[in-house]
Symmetry: none
Subunit: 388 residues, 4 copies
């Protein structure tokens, strides 16, 4: 917190990683476990100071895997839990993330992306983990992944990550990038109550009564009982029945897997967050997210000033991919240009989403530096036949 003495204590000037911290605390974070890794380290560092002061627990664990397991255990006891990492650590956490998916344990995992693959460029920016955030663990399931391009939105999507995590009883990934994490920008801290919070849905089943940890209510939600509390029940990564006991029954397996997928995929409209700029009459539509959306917006605003019909669809929800929104917003576009810092991971999704995928082009950069509005402009010229 850099503005302790400012008149309006709600106006802050922070790094994105610090914004994430403030938002997690706003959402009611009670437990953080992590292992330092650039460019996400400031999240743990800041929480090591802030969380204990607010009655929460901070633990630096021995490694990335232990960090992920710790927040799973903590969450089961009834608190909101988070970890933060970057690419290599995110890869190491995949097995335990799959466990949280299967056991339906709410938690938030922040991945501040650097340039990959492997150790890559620890201090460089990248958006190469988009597909991994969806497909990194084994088996076929669903995932909620959010991102943002500015600090006010970083705050909002971080709170939303906790809300969705509790609503759908599932791990939620916050997929930021190095530029967002380390960039300093203004944040107006929302007042308590300004953003609604979703709290843990506790079971109404009384002590001594049979609690079914995996029996959905009519609305699809599964009330929880704090583990170690008044109810005894089983938690497992195996396919399980409504009591949590392992089963190999094909029907139960089919139903459970569809439950895990459908609770998220069928709510994709509700989970979808996005901003749109100048789309109504746009002949060319840029689609972007995270730090690259900043460059895209810069270009759109400057070209609109000279009358070019350019628009921007900025995605905040990456998974479940908001295909219906993309299709609808791009219906009349002649060119659709996906701006991202990888080899075209979201571009492939956009191609699947729209009619006539030959309209979809990729404007990308993946050398550790932020894609600029000039990079995008150059690519636009080539697309329109104007050459390099």
């Amino acid at each position: 917190m850099n503005c302790e003495n400012s008149r309006d204590r709600r106006l802050l000037f922070l790094q994105g990683n610090e914004v994430c911290v403030e938002a997690a605390l706003y959402a009611g974070l009670g437990f953080f476990a992590g292992y330092p890794i650039t460019p996400s380290t400031e999240i743990g560092e800041q929480l090591s100071k802030r969380l204990p002061m607010l009655g929460g627990k901070f633990i630096q664990m021995e490694d990335e895997i232990a960090s992920m397991c710790a927040i799973i255990g903590a969450s089961l006891t009834g608190v909101k839990a988070m970890t933060a990492t970057s690419g290599p650590g995110f890869s190491l956490k995949q097995e335990a993330i799959g466990y949280a998916v299967m056991a339906e344990i709410p938690c938030v995992i922040v991945n501040v992306q650097r340039t990959g693959p492997s150790t890559g460029l620890p201090t460089g920016v990248g958006q190469g983990d988009v597909m991994q955030s969806r497909w990194g663990t084994h088996g076929d399931h669903a995932m909620i992944v959010l991102t943002a391009s500015n600090h006010q939105d970083v705050f909002a999507v971080t709170v939303e990550a906790f809300n969705l995590s509790e609503t759908f009883r599932t791990p939620v990934i916050l997929l930021f990038d190095e530029v967002i994490g380390h960039m300093r920008e203004k944040l107006v801290l929302p007042e308590q109550g300004e953003i609604p919070l979703v709290e843990r849905l506790k079971t109404s089943v009384k002590e001594g009564t049979n609690y079914h940890p995996y029996l959905p209510r009519e609305d699809g939600r599964l009330p929880m009982s704090d583990f170690g509390g008044v109810h005894r029940y089983n938690v497992t990564g195996l396919f399980h029945d409504m009591w949590g006991f392992p089963t190999t029954d094909p029907n139960t397996a089919y139903e459970l897997l569809h439950h895990l997928v459908d609770k998220i995929e069928s709510a994709s409209q509700r989970i979808a967050r996005y901003n749109e700029f100048f789309l109504d009459d746009a002949e060319s539509v840029l689609i972007s997210y995270g730090a690259s959306a900043r460059s895209a917006l810069h270009l759109v605003e400057s070209r609109r000033a000279v009358g070019e019909r350019l628009g921007l669809l900025e995605l905040q929800t990456l998974w479940p991919f908001p295909a219906a929104i993309v299709r609808e917003r791009c219906e009349h576009a002649k060119y659709i240009v996906v701006v991202e810092m990888n080899m075209g991971q979201i571009a492939q999704e956009v191609k699947k989403a729209v009619n006539d995928p030959d309209r979809v082009f990729l404007a990308n950069r993946f050398d550790g530096n932020l894609i600029t509005h000039r990079d995008i402009k150059n690519i636009l010229r080539v697309i329109r036949g104007g050459g390099m």
Copy 2:
């Protein structure tokens, strides 16, 4: 080896996991490190007996990560190295797999898929790791992934995995499944020399001279020098130059990433392995791989017997996805039905590959049991409008 005393010692009756072992030995496997996990355990078990007898090394490591790291180190010293695992272990290995990609270290990783996500159904079959095998580690790169549906092909693709691994200096994934791994079937053991082997391309640079481990030859291949041998050089997961030394130079990063991707993607025709059955006049084309291709073939053969124009394209190369072959073979098909045991991972690739993706349907099962020819037939009926 069940037929030691048979007249024809080349005719064997084995589990798929044992076939994989025989093929790895045929290909010249020198080192295996692994940690037991169902349904891949027989691979390590068998190698613990066979490999030492042939002068190779077998180590059971303390965990999945150590196993992956051990084969990377062993491979660097000049031997052909392999590990074997299943879903949870495959997730744990992702970080080190990315390292092998970045440091361009040949090795073979077998994933005998079980039903996921998470612990899932350890003894059930699944094909849920197809996307993970491509996207499981962080960053954007490329990957070679092979599979097979019968033991003769298991043998062939296992040898091919070692060959491609050496040719492209890259980890190669063998993505089998529980049914293939545990099913017993006839294998005619190829004679030595019958399948050509690709051996490690050793550098011709002499001792005392500067060896560039990351300087491609004109044909794109990078000769290796056994680590710990006559040359000193650097190996790292960071972006690096031709000496292996870390760099943050954007041009070098750009070139290296394109090298890692292009060496594989631009050879996709050469890497593509597939079988085709009755495709010439097929009105409906099934596309499948692994155990599910057996059920698909069963259906195709039985429906052909009654005159139905049904064909099968069986993929053995899953990544790089053989889009050109799929597009060409499906050009005249009215229905394209992807048969797989997940929620449609290859089906999505097929949709991207073909014109008119509305022709593409999914026939799938993911409850731990093998999809049957009857399951496929039922889905075909629904697709053709005939309902359940």
Copy 3:
């Protein structure tokens, strides 16, 4: 009648079979003959109490055939007559139904469908008699068959069945199903006069004058004279002339058969009853009827809530098949999915009705249980390529 003492005697909570009874009485039913068969038995049971109190006649006959013959005879004497049965009884009645067609005798036959064929599942639901209701008797003719999916509509179509029966001098089939018959639901009993009633068209020909029972008026209707009353005339199942006397004259046979068919087929627009839900912008149109339309509507409403462009065309008139309405309402649909509890009987008619029949799919269930909104959703997923 469960609400005899309620303040508003018009608000009832009844089984569908009871609703049918109330509607028949509202329409002026004077005679019922039947033989008990699940799941239609409550109709006769209720009428055995109610009909005599209102001056009508109830007879339990010795079998299904006798029941059908009894209502034919009763109707000829000038009263509105009905019978009720289920599949096996409906099969037994076919010969006499054909007689009523040929002799142009108004009557209403209720078939509360159970799961067939044969004895099948007497307490299970089915919609397997749709084609039989059109084609069950020998020879080529036409048939009016109505159904409904909720109790207010059960009431309305039952009254309409009597009206159409009198208007066209023909037997009319009410083709309900077990779920509709046994489900309890609210009914607001219409007041007398709220639904217009069509009464028997009596001849204006005076006693002692030649009455032509089969001489159509200019509007195509054939006035009747109560059999056993002031006129003597012949009634036969043979081809006959305007007096009812048998003939083998080809022209007379040709004219009579065309009269029997055309009086119904050429009025198909007028006879067509249907409901539509969200069709205007529907990308996928469900077509359903009876109990399965309830599940279809459930799905449509829930998917509309999340923005999916799904609509429902609910048919109440099954025969003559409202092909023109189906064609027009489905003109812009990408997918047309017929939801029914058989192997696709109405689906075949829809295929014939629309342009591009490859758009027509079947969502069905025929195992004795009601098709659910989830069943339909799963089939929609397969149709759209999303697999199981």
Copy 4:
């Protein structure tokens, strides 16, 4: 038998009904039960003399229903059984036919069609029962229905009816018409062995052992044990398990219904019988069956003599409808004209079978007289724009 004294006792001159009798005896008929009805009466009449002489049983029953039930019972004891009727009797038999379908009891039902509906024209010809032969009983199942246009084929399809009945353990309908039944024509009686016969598949299960009457073998066939013999088992029209015991289990119901349908529908290529005349280069293709195919062939032969490119596809298998054959044979036809004696029942199936159904026209007659080659020629002229 009209040619007792002829030199070649194999050359006969018979009514079609008598040919049917000879063929049934050739096939090994052991039991006939029936009730006289024009125009099928000669079948029973002839068998009342011939059958007892050959050691078989003839019973004239009290009515149509009893006749159908009697052959079901007889067949269960192990003999080949048949009944014969016409429209009104066929309607009355529908309920018991459904029982034979459900209980999988081989038997043959002959319907010599007269002009319908109802009593119609007992001595007139008609083909109005085509749809009823498929859909006359309640519930959704499958049916085998054969017909023929000349006496040599009447003989062959009658034997085939018994063969298919035994092969598929199902009732088979022979759908002749009055002209075929009463017309006299030459028949060369095949020698014993000339047409292969399918005999009852008896169970190999020994006395005292559990016999499963509804457990299919690997080839789909269900061996039978003579009822009243060494095994005790249950026979029912209810949904049943492999022992024949009633069940309401949805999976069992689903499997049984699919078994009943698939055993026939999936063998439709094998069941399909047809003749083709001059189809190779036909611009106009007539499709017909039964007596009307005689007129169609007459026209085709006479128009070919003057060079008109007219062909005929004569169907002998009406159900399962040979859609694939119709589609393939009509692929290059400009006009497809279905010639039948009803309002277009097979014409509707042809429209569903072919691409571009606008090519399909109907040439029909339904006044009790045989359609003539002149009737067809007149309709052809109108179709081609030449007017009446």
